[in-house]
Every structure is written in structure tokens, then in C-alpha cells.
């Protein structure tokens, strides 16, 4: 039997980079195939080639035994290839049924009008056939991310897709939703569909896939059966060298409370309360983690602590002083460093070079600015020191931020913030979109800071990471802290329930650390 998909020697170049270099990929019909690799390894590019968004410079695309040259996604859809992108391609203001039928609307009255009744019926039938609980008339903006993802899958199926490509499908899901998604994969393959999914998470690839192909630097470095491999071997393939899977974390030795948040209530820009009476403390020499699905108030909480957003109620005490209404620059000068969640939006000025970016936040500091002018020689020395010490590549302080890869941008920000010698570091998703090598490096620096007696507030939606790094771990849901738990004791399932806003069956009090007040 012919493979469902066969990519043969695909090469795709972009100005200055070879995104895919002679990549060959074979995917068996009715199987789940994981495409594993670090960020920037060329996984998404390869799938965009298969989906007709990009045209390869070299190589052949064979679907179902027939060679294809897709000019557009429309061609790929016609050949039975559907793709679910990482950022959902849904129109928020339209209903589920409208989104699923978009571009393929059933018509009536001689094509004049959309047959909305038929659309609804077809969507309901399709959703029932695969056991999805999806309401055709719900508006996209009112349904959960998990449901939105199912809508995307239905959209592809509605168009007759036999091969489904999913780009980082689990990145936005809670652990329970991930379980549901894996069950969906089984339904799909049982119905003869073929699933290809992109991921950079080893565990997921091992669990969900039948076959795993690893990409590194745009090349296929190996295809293995999931049963015949282990995490260490995969990690080595991905990174190209041996990786220490566990960060060495010796027990913490916490001191006094550096940051004390009490009854903090914050509204978002639309005036909706998104942080509701949150209280916690972060002590010197510990990492306090906050886990949760994105959009549960973490961003606003961090903004209120770092002085980017004024809270509506409550206190933020930093080293004994209430800083809730201090300006941003006062926070920096008082010794609070901040790694923002969106490095390109908040962390760097993309058009500036590293010398200028290294100065951000220190533009008034006496070390760099005297008498109203900036000492550029010192600023350059500073940027060079950060680049060198934090292994930013290419090591060129004159490079503009935009020319750096995501991981290197992040390393530069981490370096800049650490160089402030902070007593508190607030880090939001410090390793989001960063490759394994840089992740390891950044996490080690966080622990170094903790071991040196600094306080770290770590907000992340990566469970394994926040669980590994934190000394105490809070879970945020719906603007409230669900519980503060011992990360070594709590299980991933219990965390998942807390992230979904539910109480685990085990009594939470037994999870709480001794001495925890709330």
C-alpha cells in the first residue's frame, strides 16, 4: 500500500536561510506521525510545503501515491490534506458552523444563498461521527481553546481531509485537554485518517505517535518507531549532543520575604477584573512558580507587580515598601528585574541593535548616563559582556535584535536583566519558543540566581518546567490562586485539574507545604 504522504528531497530556502534541506518524509496511512524538533528546525516550513502555503525549490510531494504540486492550500485541500495551525485560523465573530463551512458553504436557491440549515446539520453529523461535543451555533469567541481546536479539525474533515497536519496542537491545552486530543487522534486513525503533528515535546511524541521523525537545522536526522526509542535518544537527535534532562536543583534555603502580594485585584484594559484578590509571598533564595493556562490573569498579575499596570485594590510590598503605585523605572531601580512574556513586544526594540537594547531600563542609570548624555562606550562594553557571558549568537553587539533567533533574543534579555543584579526576578514564560539548548541554559541561570539568594517569581504554562524549577508552586485559574502546593509532591494530573479550576480528589491541604498560611 502506498504511503499516505511522501515528501522526497524537499528543499525550501528563504532569504539567508535554508529552512528545509533535502528532507525526506514518509508517513504510513492510518498512523500518527510526530515531527519532532527544536524551534527553527524547519518543522512548520516542511508542513507548509505539504499544505501548499510554500512551494519548495526542490523535491517532490506525493500524496496517496500521486505526485502533486500544490500552488495554494486550496490545491492541498482538494488532494485531501488539511492543516490545523498553531494559531487557529478561525473567525472569532462567526459561529462554529460558519467557520467549518467557510469557503465550502452549502448553497440553496441556485447558489444565491448559504443553506444555513444544511450547514448546521452537516456539522452536527460530522461532530457526532467522531465523538466531538461541538455546538454548531456557538460563537467561536465563547468556546474554550480545546473546542476551537476541535472545530479546526472538523473544518479539515468537512473538506474531506484524509491527512491531518497539526502544528504544535498541545501548546495551548491543559493536560486533560491533551488527553482528549490524543483520544481524538485514535478516533481519527481508526476511521482511516492519517495524523501528522508537529511538536518539540519529547514525551508527547513518545506517547501519541506511532512513528517519529526528528528534524534538526532543516534536515531529517532520523525517523524511528516510537516503540523502539527513548527520550534520551530522541533528545540527542534533536539537539545533536547529549542533554541533561534533569536540572540539578538542590533544596532551597529561603530567607525573608522579598515580595509580598496582598489582596491584589487587577482589571484588564476592558475593565474586566482578571486578577481577583490574589495573595502570596516570594522569599529570598526561592523560586515561586505560578502555573496555569494562558489568559487566566497571569499576565495582568505580573504587570501589576512590575509596575506596568495599576492594580484596582491590594498591596504589592517589595522589600517592605508598597510599590503598587510606583512608576516602572522606580521598580527597576529598586532592584526588580523582569523577563516579559513577549520578548519582541516588551523585551526588545526589534529595530535597535544590541548595544541600544542592552541599555533599555538603564537609560537613566548613572553607569551609562551622565549629564544628559549617554556614554556609548560603556553601553557597548555592557552589551559585549552580556553577549559573551550569556552565549548570544552571533556574538555581535551591532546586530539588530530582529536578526537574532528567538532563543538568542531571549538569552540577551535574560542576560540584561541578570546584569542588574536584582533582588527579585519576575520571569514570564522565560523559555517560551526557545530551543532545548537555550532552555537548559536559561533555567540554570534562574537557579543560580536563587542559589545566590535572589527571589524568583516564575510564571509559565509549561508544567514540567515550572514543576521542576519551583520550590513552591501556585496554580492560577480564573484570576485566583487555586492552591499553593509542593511541586515535588503534586502530580501532573492534579495540577491539570487545578489549572482547569477543579479540586483534585486528594485533599489539597495535604499538598500544601507546612507553614503555608492561606
Amino acid at each position: 500500500m502506498a504511503d499516505a504522504v511522501r515528501l522526497d528531497g524537499i528543499t525550501k530556502r528563504f532569504p539567508g536561510v535554508v529552512a528545509n534541506d533535502d528532507v525526506t518524509l514518509e508517513v504510513e496511512r492510518g498512523s500518527v506521525h510526530a515531527l519532532l524538533g527544536e524551534n527553527g528546525a524547519g518543522k512548520t516550513t516542511l508542513m507548509n510545503v505539504l499544505y501548499g502555503l510554500y512551494q519548495p525549490e526542490e523535491g517532490r510531494v506525493v500524496v496517496d501515491g500521486e505526485e502533486q504540486s500544490f500552488e495554494s492550500p486550496g490545491d492541498a485541500i482538494d488532494a485531501g490534506v488539511g492543516m490545523i495551525h498553531q494559531h487557529f485560523m478561525l473567525v472569532d465573530t462567526m459561529t462554529v458552523a460558519e467557520n467549518i463551512t467557510l469557503g465550502n458553504e452549502p448553497r440553496k436557491w441556485g447558489w444565491l444563498a448559504v443553506d444555513r440549515e444544511q450547514a448546521r446539520r452537516e456539522v452536527r453529523e460530522l461532530s457526532e461521527r467522531y465523538g466531538f461535543a461541538v455546538e454548531p451555533d456557538a460563537r467561536i469567541e465563547t468556546v474554550s481553546v480545546g473546542v476551537q481546536q476541535r472545530v479546526e479539525i472538523l473544518k479539515a474533515l468537512y473538506r474531506g481531509a484524509d491527512v491531518l497536519i497539526l502544528d504544535e496542537p498541545t501548546a495551548v491545552l491543559t493536560p486533560q485537554e491533551v488527553e482528549e486530543l490524543l483520544a481524538v487522534f485514535e478516533e481519527l486513525t481508526a476511521a482511516g485518517k492519517t495524523v501528522i503533528f508537529i511538536t518539540h515535546k519529547l514525551g508527547e511524541a513518545m506517547e501519541a505517535a506511532d512513528e517519529i521523525t526528528v528534524l534538526r537545522d532543516g534536515k531529517n536526522v532520523g525517523s524511528v518507531s516510537a516503540d523502539d526509542t527513548d527520550r534520551e535518544a530522541l533528545a540527542e537527535l534533536m539537539v545533536g549532543r547529549e542533554v541533561l534532562m534533569e536540572t540539578d536543583a538542590r533544596p532551597s534555603d529561603p530567607g525573608d520575604e522579598t515580595l509580598c502580594v496582598d489582596g491584589l485585584t487587577v482589571e484588564d484594559s476592558r475593565g474586566v477584573t482578571v486578577v481577583d484578590g490574589v495573595s502570596f509571598g516570594v522569599r529570598a533564595g526561592e523560586v515561586f512558580g505560578i502555573a496555569g493556562v494562558d489568559g487566566n490573569g497571569q499576565s495582568e498579575l505580573v504587570e501589576a507587580i512590575t509596575g506596568l499596570r495599576e492594580p484596582t485594590a491590594g498591596r504589592v510590598d517589595f522589600e517592605g515598601r508598597d510599590v503598587a503605585d510606583w512608576s516602572r523605572i522606580d521598580h527597576i531601580e529598586a532592584g526588580m528585574a523582569y523577563i516579559p512574556e513577549d520578548r519582541q513586544e516588551r523585551g526588545l526594540v526589534m529595530d535597535f541593535d544590541l548595544v541600544e537594547n542592552g541599555l533599555l531600563g538603564s537609560q537613566h542609570a548613572s553607569a551609562f548616563a551622565a549629564g544628559g548624555r549617554i556614554d556609548w562606550d560603556r553601553a557597548r562594553d555592557h552589551a559585549e559582556a552580556v553577549v559573551e557571558e550569556y552565549d548570544v549568537r552571533p556574538p555581535d553587539p551591532d546586530a539588530r535584535s530582529v536578526s537574532l533567533s528567538g532563543g538568542n533574543q531571549q538569552k540577551f534579555i535574560v542576560g540584561r536583566e541578570f546584569e542588574r543584579d536584582p533582588s527579585l526576578l519576575v520571569a514570564t514564560h522565560p523559555t517560551r519558543g526557545v530551543d532545548i539548548g537555550s532552555t537548559e541554559f536559561i533555567n540554570d541561570r534562574l537557579l543560580d540566581l536563587r542559589n545566590a539568594g535572589g527571589a524568583v517569581l516564575l510564571v509559565s504554562s509549561k508544567l514540567d518546567e515550572v514543576q521542576m524549577l519551583s520550590d513552591r508552586l501556585a496554580v492560577m485559574h480564573g484570576g485566583e490562586l487555586m492552591a499553593v502546593v509542593d511541586p515535588d509532591d503534586v502530580t501532573e494530573e492534579e495540577l491539570g485539574l487545578l489549572m482547569a479550576g477543579e479540586e483534585p480528589s486528594r485533599s489539597l491541604s495535604s499538598l500544601r507545604l507546612a507553614g503555608e498560611e492561606s
Binding site: Y54, H85, M94, D268
Partner: protein, 363 residues
């Protein structure tokens, strides 16, 4: 999702504000009626007489035609993601062209009704061509939509009076036939609302355009593609529909509708006057306000255009009655009211991707 949570309240807010405005208008109306009965000779009494006069409604409908048609065009363009602030220019170019064409087709004698409609069609073609130019510049060459839109206005503002100067030796064209009023028997006799059934054919054209636009936007596949192109073009692209084709179609449609509006404006008077801001005099910009006020709903846009046009008709009547107020002050009543209403109603749901360029295959 936090989006969903947040969306409930502003909607509720807007609803209560709308209700509030309706109540306020009602109360004002009752007060005026009382004033008319008690003091028939005061300004308030006159105002009531003007507001309830069928000629006011007739004038309001007539004034509303170009604004509504341009607003419908603006809705299609902006819903598809292209902000067309050049509506004013499209109105100007079609106003001149329609009159010029009618005059040319008619030759020596007075134009017949058929020739007048032919002239309107030529006006529509001219406006659509200009809109097409705008579309190419914005979609193909990725120009800034606001700047390109202003260029459309400035081009028309210069071109139309210039062409008039060349052809007619002055900024104003010759006069041509105006359309015959269509009177529906019996219904036209109804007090006040009879004005709806005793009107220029352009008024009926406007009603048809409003209904059709609503239907196309909300019930046809094309309308859905237009909305998707403006909300999330990538979703449409990945669904296999060409975003730029949808946007071209929508912008051309804005040219067609604005062309009908501009042609109707000039032909209902029988002349194009090109002094200063020309006879269009900001109607294209008011059209933008009305569709924002109507929250991109064709019916809403029509109603707010009618509100503005009604106030305009009112200020005309007030000027003839003589209120003792300087006429330049009276003339700004409609504009001030529209600004006030807009400020009170607040939020409109602007399409997510309006103003953004889109090219397939870009990240």
C-alpha cells in the same frame, strides 16, 4: 477565554445607551408637541411643525440617498479589511460624470428619463474605475489605506471641477433633466409617512440597495467571505478562498454603490456644482460616520444616515422660518448632533484586520 467574558458588558452598555437615546428623543418630541399646542408661535412650536411635516421626511430621504449608498459601499470595503476613506472622492467623481454623461448623451434637447439612467450608469462606471485604482494601490502595491483613500478624495476634488472648467467653462455644469417623482397611489396620501411613497426613484433605489446589501453580507457565501477577510484573512486563505479577490470585489462594490450615490445626488438636482468642497461637501465622510454608528449593519447605517439627513433637512427649514440664530450656527446642528450621538453610543466592533495588508504565505 477572557475575550468572551469582556464582550458581554460593552454590548449590554451599548444597548442600554441606545434605549436611553430613544427615550430621550421621545421625551423631546412630546415636549415639542406640548410647546406647539401651548405656544404655537414660538420657535419650539415651529420646530414641532417642521419635524412632523411630510416635506421634512421627503427632504430627509432625498438627502439620505448619497450618504446611505456611500456608507453601504464603505461597509463592504471595510468589512473585507480595506478602510476606504476615499468615499468622498468616489461621490464627487460620479456626481460630475453622471451629469456630464447625461448632458452628452442627450445632446441638444432635454435628456429623457432613460438617458438620465444611462448617465447614472456612466457615473457608476467612473466611480468604480477610481475605486479599482484605489484597490490596486492598496491590495497589490500595499499602500497605506488611509493615505491612498485621501489621495482618491484629492484626485476627485481636483479632477471634477477641472473637467467642468474645461467642458462648461466654470466649476458648475449645465443643468440636465431631473428624475420624475414616483408616486404610489393611495399610499402617498397617508399623512407624514406618505412621503415614503411619493419620492424620487433614487430613494427607492436606496431602499433596495440597503436590503440587498444586508442580504449579501449576512446570507450569501460572498458576504461571509467578505466578513472573514476583514476579521481573520488567514482563516479565509487557508480555507482556499483568495483574500485579495474578495477584497478587490468588495472595494469595487464600494465604487459601484458610491457611484450610484454620487450620481443620484447630482442628477436629483440636475447639476454638478464644483465650488469649494463641491456639492458633495463632506457627505462621503459623514457616510463613514454613519456606518460606524450603524456598527457596519446596512440597516443601521441607513437609519443613522436618515438621522443626519433629517437634521440637515430640519436646519434648512429652520433657516427659512427664521430663528434669530445666525444661519452658520444653524448649519452645524447636524454635525454637532452626529458627533454627540457617536460619543454617547461609543464602541463599534471594528473588523479585526481592517487596515492590514494580507499576502498569502506570509507569517
Amino acid at each position: 477565554m477572557s475575550d468572551a467574558r469582556a464582550d458581554g458588558s460593552p454590548l449590554a452598555d451599548r444597548f442600554s445607551k441606545r434605549t436611553g437615546i430613544t427615550v430621550a428623543v421621545g421625551v423631546l418630541f412630546v415636549l415639542l408637541a406640548g410647546a406647539r399646542l401651548a405656544f404655537p408661535d414660538t420657535i419650539a412650536g415651529d420646530l414641532f411643525a417642521i419635524v412632523t411635516d411630510r416635506t421634512t421626511l421627503g427632504a430627509a430621504l432625498r438627502f439620505a440617498v448619497p450618504i446611505t449608498l456611500a456608507a453601504l459601499g464603505g461597509i463592504f470595503a471595510e468589512k473585507s479589511g480595506v478602510i476606504n476613506i476615499g468615499l468622498e472622492g468616489l461621490l464627487i467623481i460620479s456626481a460630475f460624470t453622471a451629469v456630464y454623461a447625461t448632458d452628452t448623451i442627450a445632446g441638444e434637447g432635454a435628456a429623457t428619463q432613460a438617458e438620465l439612467w444611462l448617465g447614472l450608469l456612466v457615473g457608476v462606471v467612473a466611480s468604480t474605475l477610481l475605486a479599482g485604482l484605489f484597490a490596486v494601490v492598496c491590495i497589490e502595491f500595499r499602500a497605506d489605506q488611509i493615505i491612498a483613500g485621501l489621495a482618491v478624495w484629492l484626485i476627485a476634488l481636483g479632477l471634477a471641477p477641472f473637467a467642468s472648467q474645461v467642458v462648461y467653462d466654470g466649476p458648475n455644469t449645465a443643468s440636465v433633466t431631473t428624475p420624475a417623482t414616483v408616486t404610489i397611489p393611495v399610499l402617498a396620501e397617508i399623512p407624514f409617512f406618505g412621503a415614503l411613497f411619493d419620492a424620487s426613484p433614487f430613494v427607492y433605489l436606496m431602499f433596495i440597495a440597503v436590503g440587498l446589501s444586508w442580504y449579501v453580507l449576512n446570507r450569501t457565501a460572498f458576504g461571509r467571505h467578505v466578513r472573514a477577510a476583514g476579521e481573520n484573512p488567514k482563516a479565509l486563505d487557508t480555507a482556499g478562498v483568495s483574500v485579495s479577490r474578495v477584497r478587490y470585489a468588495a472595494v469595487l462594490l464600494s465604487g459601484v454603490l458610491s457611484g450610484a450615490g454620487g450620481g443620484a445626488l447630482a442628477l436629483s438636482i440636475g447639476q454638478f456644482t464644483g465650488n469649494g468642497a463641491t456639492m458633495v461637501n463632506g457627505k462621503g465622510f459623514i457616510a463613514i460616520v454613519t456606518y460606524l454608528f450603524g456598527n457596519y449593519n446596512p440597516v443601521g447605517a441607513f437609519l443613522s444616515a436618515l438621522l443626519f439627513a433629517g437634521l440637515d433637512a430640519l436646519q434648512f427649514s429652520l433657516q427659512t422660518v427664521g430663528t434669530g440664530l445666525p444661519s452658520s450656527l444653524v448649519r452645524v446642528i447636524p454635525f454637532v448632533t452626529v458627533i454627540l450621538v457617536l460619543a454617547l453610543v461609543g464602541r463599534t466592533q471594528i473588523p479585526e484586520a481592517a487596515g492590514d495588508h494580507y499576502e498569502s504565505g506570509e507569517d
